[in-house]
């Protein structure tokens, strides 16, 4: 009799626990009802698409370092920064979404002293839109989040400016508005929001252009050096390039799974 009652209580407790936890865990991790985000844990946001929007299961970029030259890179940086209202701030409190840097800064572990010229060769650095992004993991407000198509985005209105994401990012891809950025803008693109002081920002793979059916601005002006497409589509340009040519990624051993590939 006694054991029967104990068993009954055990089963009942398990049942209550299971029944209570399962729907809750779904709510916590995924949709969260009408909200487009998980209630507690950072999760992947649904992408809202218009009629002309470019969509993918996993966006990725392939940079052909051989096709990059000074002019192309300058065009890319200038175009990106001007359409996204990225200010030009002198000094080390500056803001960069995409920028030129030496190969030996990009690929710390791959270069050696017998290639001084190759090491000093310039290439582009930008947000890697990691599949396993540390910045999203550490953000205390979900102000930075990952969409279902892999793009790591920022909510400039939610960011509290704690800069934890900047400590978390192993690529130095994030910038903080130490001051009012609008004072450092010569011209403003009215189609893209300007930011306030006290928030973090970074490249968003031109999510706003993809929604209108346009390719990222850097890809458009890259004269073929940058390719952009769906990793989930075997017929996409990026998949073909990655299949044919040898590519490397920045610090892949950190487990972040970067989605910007460099052809070397």
């Amino acid at each position: 009799m006694k054991t029967q009652r104990r068993n009954f209580l055990k089963i009942a407790a398990m049942a209550v626990l299971g029944w209570g936890v399962r729907p809750a865990s779904e709510l916590l991790a995924a949709g969260g009802g009408t909200a487009s985000e998980g209630l507690l844990f950072a999760s992947r946001h649904k992408v809202h698409v218009g009629p002309n929007a470019l969509t993918a299961s996993r966006w990725a970029m392939v940079i052909d370092t051989a096709k990059l030259n000074e002019k192309v890179m300058e065009d890319i940086v200038h175009t990106c920064h001007s359409i996204h209202n990225v200010p030009t701030i002198p000094g080390n409190q500056n803001i960069k979404w995409i920028w030129e840097t030496h190969m030996d800064h990009l690929f710390l572990e791959d270069l050696h002293e017998y290639q001084p010229e190759a090491g000093a060769k310039s290439a582009l650095a930008l947000c890697n839109h990691c599949d396993n992004p540390p910045c999203v993991r550490v953000c205390p407000t979900k102000a930075t989040f990952q969409r279902e198509d892999g793009i790591v985005m920022m909510d400039f209105h939610r960011c509290i400016g704690c800069r934890y994401c900047m400590a978390g990012c192993p690529y130095g891809s994030r910038s903080f508005n130490f001051m009012d950025p609008r004072k450092h803008l010569e011209t403003t693109n009215p189609d893209f929001p300007t930011r306030t002081k006290g928030v973090v920002e970074k490249c968003e793979f031109c999510a706003e252009r993809l929604a209108e059916g346009k390719m990222p601005a850097c890809v458009e002006v890259s004269e073929g050096a940058l390719a952009f497409g769906d990793l989930g589509d075997p017929e996409s340009e990026v998949r073909k390039l990655l299949a044919e040519r040898f590519s490397i990624r920045r610090s892949p051993t950190l487990g972040t799974k970067p989605c910007v590939y460099y052809l070397v």
């Binding site: 080390n92 550490v138 960011c159 400016g161 800069r163 903080f176 130490f178 002081k197 006290g198």
Partner: protein
């Protein structure tokens, strides 16, 4: 009991006025920061956390040190610590308030602070840090106030408070562990990416925290005649010196692992801090001063006879406290950001306004500490 805080000598009111003056200087500096942004600090795109976050990190340790009195008293029935226990608990209250103020001062958009509660995100360690710090604050206010009130009425404290006293032990460990987890779980930051970080944080906390308590108790003794009891401070000095030995041991473990493995991204930060890196080394003299202070402090306090002498105990505690402060309050955070993930070097030195804000925050913490200690010592002297 709070009425004790408004009855004081001229020295007491002079000290309060001095702290209020420092607080207004801090407020003026913070006003600059609010209007112009964090650009008024020495921080940069590469070194995104500086003096504020470093002070927060260090002070979490000082706050956690109350547990070094609670454990002997409640788990080992070492009742001699009973008399200064309240000082440990009220110290924890003041230090956690300091920590919270430093975090808020570091925010780029403090007006959105409540987003951490509105959008709770348990996958962020910062969320848990908020939980444990506020919890520790509440526990110590509750325990300190209830036990002091019973003491004043000369009755035994209510039984239920025991639960919170025991809870405060793991909770104290948790605040510094979670604070270490803020840093040691980040890929690509070699200086922090070590499992020994939380243990090291705790060890240096249990050295610096009790050292601070000893020094403050001496100050209270001078100004109020408060007697902690014979042998209490020298016993606490033993905790200080053993904890500092453990801290240095853990640092050496780290140095061995990093330099025997020869992994460049891990070596770079220690090289930057102790010998300079590619010609940059603004923290090198500080780090060596910290090491020398720690070693001399240990050599003084490891000798039992020295701990019995007030002067040597004070000097030893001062050296260990300052040594730990430099290590954590200057080197730990700045050192983790230099060089940056692209192996570029941007050095960090706090700006004057940044130090002004910090001064104001410290003054606020000391104001809370002074008032709480005034109450606690007033009650103790009333019942004697």
């Amino acid at each position: 009991m709070l009425e004790k805080a408004i009855n004081g000598s001229k020295v007491y009111w002079g000290w309060i006025a001095f702290l209020l003056l420092l607080m207004s200087i801090g407020a003026a500096c913070y006003w600059q920061q609010l209007s112009h942004g964090l650009t008024i600090t020495g921080m940069s795109r590469d070194v995104t956390w500086g003096f504020y976050i470093a002070q927060f990190t260090f002070l979490v340790g000082v706050a956690a040190s109350a547990v070094m009195l609670v454990i002997p008293k409640y788990l080992h029935n070492y009742h001699k610590f009973g008399k200064i226990l309240i000082l440990g608990e009220f110290n924890a209250v003041a230090m956690v308030i300091l920590c919270l103020l430093f975090i808020v001062a570091d925010l780029g958009s403090p007006q959105r602070l409540m987003n951490v509660l509105i959008h709770p995100t348990p996958n962020s360690v910062l969320f848990w840090d908020m939980v444990v710090l506020n919890g520790y604050l509440l526990i110590n206010i509750l325990v300190g106030w209830v036990t002091l009130e019973s003491e004043r009425k000369q009755v035994a404290p209510p039984k239920w408070i025991k639960f919170f006293i025991y809870l405060s032990i793991p909770w104290a460990v948790s605040i510094h562990t979670v604070t270490a987890f803020l840093y040691c779980g980040l890929p690509g930051r070699g200086y922090w990416l070590t499992a020994v970080l939380a243990a090291r944080f705790l060890a240096s906390a249990f050295a610096a925290g009790p050292a601070f308590l000893i020094l403050v108790t001496y100050i209270a003794k001078i100004f109020t005649g408060f007697d902690p009891g014979k042998g209490v401070l020298s016993t606490l000095g033993k905790t200080v010196v053993y904890a500092m030995c453990v801290n240095l041991f853990l640092l050496l473990c780290e140095v061995f692992t990093v330099f025997y493995s020869q992994i460049p991204s891990h070596m770079a930060h220690l090289q930057y801090l102790f010998v300079g890196y590619h010609g940059h080394g603004v923290l090198v003299p500080w780090m060596w001063s910290a090491m020398i202070m720690a070693v001399v402090g240990i050599l003084i306090l490891i000798v039992p006879k020295n701990r019995e002498q007030d002067n040597l105990l004070i000097i030893g505690c001062l050296l260990i406290f300052i040594g730990a402060w430099i290590d954590k309050g200057l080197g730990m955070i700045g050192g983790g950001f230099v060089p940056n993930p692209l192996h570029e070097i941007t050095e960090y030195v706090p700006s004057q306004l940044e130090l002004g804000v910090s001064l104001g925050i410290y003054a606020t913490g000391f104001l809370v500490l002074t008032i709480l200690y005034k109450v606690a010592i007033g009650v103790k002297q009333e019942i004697e």
